[in-house]
């Protein structure tokens, strides 16, 4: 199988994504990076500035944060144990004050959902969450 010569800008971008995903299972990180690498290669026309493709994917740390947030959201919505959710929150926290603020707010929200909000079944959870965002009643 032929491989193109690695582009330094692409490698830098993917290294930053990989570094920002640290803490997730290695196999998951490898899959994410492999998928993004394929996207960048196919999206960039021959001879075109690859930077445009990277810009359209967004800041690598921000992209990694989206993966982390979606992972935690998925666990929390489906009623995972507090330990699992806390682990996920620590992963998305980062080192900044903003990260700690997000951690605190999300933990409060999770506590509310887990112990104060009416119980919902595991299967209907994501749909009811989506529907409640649009103000409609779940079927």
């Amino acid at each position: 199988m032929s491989r193109a010569v690695p582009d330094p800008a692409v490698e830098r971008y993917l290294d930053r994504v990989r570094a920002s995903l640290r803490g997730l299972p290695e196999v998951d990180i490898d899959e994410i990076v492999l998928e993004l690498r394929g996207h960048i290669a196919e999206r960039s026309e021959p001879g075109q500035d690859v930077e445009a493709t990277l810009r359209s994917l967004g800041d690598p740390a921000g992209l990694a944060r989206e993966y982390r947030i979606d992972r935690v959201t998925s666990r929390a919505e489906c009623g995972a144990s507090p330990i699992v959710v806390l682990h996920g929150l620590l992963l998305i926290r980062g080192r900044s004050l903003w990260g700690w603020t997000v951690l605190a707010l999300t933990a409060l929200g999770y506590a509310w959902r887990s112990h104060l909000a009416p119980r919902r079944s595991r299967r209907s959870c994501p749909l009811t969450t989506w529907a409640s965002g649009t103000g409609a009643a779940p079927p």
């Binding site: 996207h39 196919e42 947030i69 979606d70 994501p126 409609a136 079927p139």
Partner: protein, 129 residues
């Protein structure tokens, strides 16, 4: 300094924020819908969404969402070697994913119909003024 788009609105415009949230909220349904007729890989889904909808704000929002839908058990994936040398990750709806897509589509249809009725007089007045 905030940026101004081609419609003359700044990135911090409340209207833009509402639009961003609206698009994000619909993206999940749009992805499930785009996979209804068969498996597709990430860039195919992205191109379909770009062609058939105005939902994609940033390409970086689609891949994490695909990952979450897979974690939720609504999608399954497989790697397939491609001619260009980079394997493609194909996604397809699981049985639960098809059920969820159908439920969401029905809900959306009812929701948009009722909102459309509510907004019809407003839009009518807007056209005549």
């Amino acid at each position: 300094m905030s940026t101004i788009d081609e419609r003359g609105r700044s990135a911090s415009d409340p209207m833009d924020k509402w639009e961003v949230q609206l698009r994000k909220g619909c993206l999940e349904l749009a992805i499930l819908g785009s996979l209804w007729s068969g498996r597709q890989y990430g860039l195919e889904i992205l191109r379909k969404l770009e062609r058939d909808s105005e939902l994609v704000l940033s390409e970086g929002t689609v891949y994490p969402l695909l990952s979450r839908l897979k974690t939720d058990g609504l999608l399954e994936s497989e790697w397939v070697e491609a001619e260009g040398g980079h394997p493609r990750k194909y996604y397809r709806l699981t049985r639960a994913g098809r059920r969820r897509a159908m439920q969401m589509a029905r809900l959306w249809s009812r929701f948009s119909a009722s909102l459309g009725g509510l907004l019809a007089p407003l839009l009518e007045e807007g056209r005549s003024s």
